[in-house]
């Protein structure tokens, strides 16, 4: 938007005024205001949906607030002491760690492998690339129910297959063993994370200098050496971002775990997100749920800090 310089005809001092509507701060201030205006919707949403509930949860973490105590009652560090002395809640931290490591490692390994395959020239590559995104596009709850039916003890596809192959005599309740349930939730998460991770790696591979690889091949490098000495070093920045995003995403993950196992059997898949939900909405112990939630946020912060630092450094 252009502004005309007006001549008021009242001498040199008056001629310096750019407009009768000019305001303090000039153009910069106007642009800042536009910035604030654009920022306002996101800022309002952030404050209302994230900041205020978070600050409220922060306060509630130091209170007793359950069905017996309808009005929050300050108990200091009581909830945190209870967490430290509760094998069940401490177990949730271990379960979360196992889930995050397995789901992130599985997604990175399979995502990278699939990206390497889809980076090769072959007929139908574009169609396969597009189809690879289907698991990512499907709603996660649908994915959970699909895998739930695969693992179902009475009507599941897996049991039908293994029984017909003679591997098992009776249907197995996969989701009723600790190992089976954890495997199921990891497989489900990996299945719909691979397309996203693959996309990141594929983008990274597109910028790899092919002449460099050809030169290495001429020098006698085999596939593994190419991967180790050329491809992986090239993908290192992408790898870092993918791993950090994977860790954050898996630490926060809730929906497919809840839909598949509900945190069970017993507490085998009760990761922190499930633990907070169960404390808050099954047992109505909002104070304890807030305290566990606070510690849950603390586990996410290092990864988030690392990611933001990397992002800002890049910028």
């Amino acid at each position: 938007m252009a502004f005309a310089v007006q001549d008021s005809g009242k001498g040199p001092a008056a001629a310096l005024r750019v407009s009768p509507h000019a305001e303090r701060g000039g153009l910069k201030a106007r642009e800042r205001r536009v910035g604030w205006l654009f920022l306002a919707p996101a800022l309002i949403a952030f404050v209302a949906v994230i900041l205020v509930p978070f600050l409220r949860a922060l306060g509630l973490a130091f209170t007793r607030y359950d069905l017996q105590t309808p009005v929050p009652e300050f108990i200091g560090l009581g909830n945190f002491h209870a967490i430290l002395t509760s094998p069940e809640i401490l177990g949730s931290f271990v379960t979360t760690a196992i889930y995050v490591v397995l789901a992130t490692a599985g997604s990175v390994l399979l995502g990278l492998s699939w990206a390497l395959i889809l980076n090769q020239p072959f007929r139908g590559r574009a169609a396969l690339r597009a189809m690879s995104l289907i698991p990512w596009v499907l709603p996660s709850t649908v994915t959970a129910f699909v895998w739930g039916w695969i693992f179902n003890s009475r009507f599941g596809v897996l049991n039908a297959l293994l029984t017909s192959l003679g591997v098992i005599d009776y249907p197995t309740a996969w989701l009723s063993t600790s190992g089976g349930a954890m495997t199921a939730i990891v497989i489900t998460k990996v299945w719909f994370s691979v397309p996203l991770f693959m996309s990141f790696f594929l983008a990274g591979l597109q910028s790899l200098d092919k002449e460099q690889l050809e030169a290495a091949r001429v020098d006698g490098a085999h596939n593994l050496a190419l991967l180790r000495d050329h491809i992986l070093p090239h993908l290192k920045p992408v790898m870092l971002v993918v791993i950090v995003l994977g860790v954050i995403g898996n630490l926060q993950h809730f929906d497919t775990i809840f839909a598949l196992t509900g945190g069970g059997p017993v507490r085998a898949t009760s990761v922190l997100s499930i633990e907070v939900y169960r404390r808050a909405f099954d047992q109505w112990d909002i104070g304890m749920a807030s305290a566990v939630g606070l510690l849950w946020v603390a586990t996410i912060l290092p990864a988030a800090w690392f990611y933001l630092r990397h992002l800002l450094k890049g910028a």
Binding site: A29, W36, L37, A40, L67, N152, S153, G264, V266
Partner: protein
């Protein structure tokens, strides 16, 4: 692009005004709503709709139904309480009342309807289901007990003539069903949902002569009887006589489709069998109410007191004895409702006149149910304010034993410790 301070201030003010105006509007003062899990069940929705239509025809007041799945009702009510969007009335399972009674918005029906009116209409034992802390905080709507039902057709397929009386006989019958009825779950006990597992476990503990928590709040589950009960259930799992991953709806489906010989349920088992079998009234002969098998012949068999309640929340629609919401509750106590609604769900009515009516007294299923279940006992877990936590603890420890993660004795020991801690915190 830039913008003047005046325009900026104007936009911000407009935005704030719009945001304030966009707040959810408060419901009209006389609106009556009814949050109901029966309304959310497809086969039973017409029965609730008939109640709503009947009340409208009689009083001219429309009641807005709000469907909510059975497992989500407590969540729904408590979240609505926090967001100040409580319905006028809500349907509860009797075991949820201790937790719900803590809400300050609950209407005391002794004042709203009158204790004398309630006691004149409803037997004190039934009315007690809706009482907490000496006050009547919920109106019983339907009643009955949770006991064992046998599938007569499955028993016949397994070559069993009559339901077993003792636990030893019970096991033999279960083995026969497993071996002679392919792909069946002989005893469809609840093994998945924390809301259902404690009920099955409780009846099995009673059958062994034990208890979980006394009326005084003392945890007494760490007993030989409870260990034997859990040991038996664990053996059933090992022998494939019960199955993992089963919740009550799964049990009802298996039973109705001839894939299960026994399970625990309320008298509603009959209406579920009719609907889920697809055979309607022709399925009636399949459902056989029976006494829960006991340790030795002659022991007393037990069932759990069960019922549905209706609770009212304070508001314009419940303010005063003639308020629309209170009129709705009074209508639910009328013979018109009590002689039609409970029987349509295969449950017993709550009012004295309806119970004494020939329609109920001469109903063969109700007679059989009453003979089989006798005098039901109070739910030992559900009566406490921290029932949700107690149920979770019992459920986790029972599951741990059933799935082989803990020995039954260790699971009972751990259950007792955790229950004691929970009761000490706020039972």
């Amino acid at each position: 692009m830039s913008i003047s301070r005046r325009s900026f201030n104007l936009m911000m003010a407009s935005g704030a005004t719009a945001a304030m105006m966009a707040r959810p509007g408060l419901a009209a003062a006389t609106d009556v709503s009814f949050l109901s899990f029966t309304y959310a069940e497809d086969p039973n929705r017409p029965h609730v709709q008939a109640l709503l239509d009947g009340f409208k025809a009689k009083s001219g007041i429309a009641v807005e139904p709000i469907g909510s799945a059975w497992g989500d009702v407590q969540k729904n009510v408590l979240l609505r309480e926090r967001s100040r969007t409580l319905p006028t009335t809500a349907q509860l399972s009797e075991r949820w009342l201790p937790a719900m009674s803590k809400l300050p918005e609950v209407v005391n029906l002794d004042d709203a309807i009158g204790r004398d009116v309630l006691e004149a209409a409803i037997d004190p034992k039934v009315l007690a289901m809706g009482q907490a802390g000496g006050k009547t905080l919920a109106l019983p709507l339907i009643t009955g007990s949770i006991g064992m039902v046998a599938n007569k057709e499955v028993l016949e397929k397994a070559g069993v003539g009559a339901p077993p009386e003792t636990l030893d006989d019970f096991r033999k019958v279960l083995v026969a069903i497993r071996d002679k009825v392919p792909n069946s779950v002989p005893f469809a006990a609840a093994t998945k949902n924390p809301n259902s597992i404690p009920l099955d476990f409780m009846i099995m503990v009673w059958a062994h002569g034990g208890r979980i928590i006394t009326e005084e709040g003392k945890v007494v589950v760490n007993s030989d009887a409870a260990k034997a009960a859990l040991g038996l259930m664990t053996d059933f799992m090992k022998d494939r006589l019960i199955a993992p991953e089963l919740d009550r709806p799964d049990s009802r489906r298996l039973f109705a489709q001839g894939a299960s010989g026994f399970y625990f349920d309320a008298p509603q088992a009959l209406s579920f069998a009719r609907t889920l079998s697809g055979r309607g009234n022709q399925a009636d002969g399949m459902v056989l109410p029976m006494k829960t098998p006991v340790l030795k012949a002659g022991d007393t068999a037990h069932s759990i007191q069960w019922g549905h309640l209706v609770i009212a929340f304070k508001g314009a629609a419940t303010d005063g004895k003639d308020a629309a919401g209170i009129e709705w509750l009074k209508y639910l106590m009328s013979d018109e409702v009590q002689l039609s609604f409970p029987p349509s769900l295969s449950a017993l009515p709550v009012t004295k006149t309806a119970v004494a009516s020939p329609k109920v007294q001469n109903d063969p299923f109700f007679k059989a149910w009453a003979n089989a279940t006798g005098v039901p006992l109070t739910n030992e877990v559900g009566v406490w304010g921290n029932a949700p936590e107690l149920s979770t603890i019992i459920s986790e420890e029972v599951q741990a034993s059933l799935l082989g993660q803990k020995k039954p004795d260790a699971a009972i020991g751990s259950m007792a410790e955790r229950l004691e801690a929970s009761m000490a915190k706020g039972g």
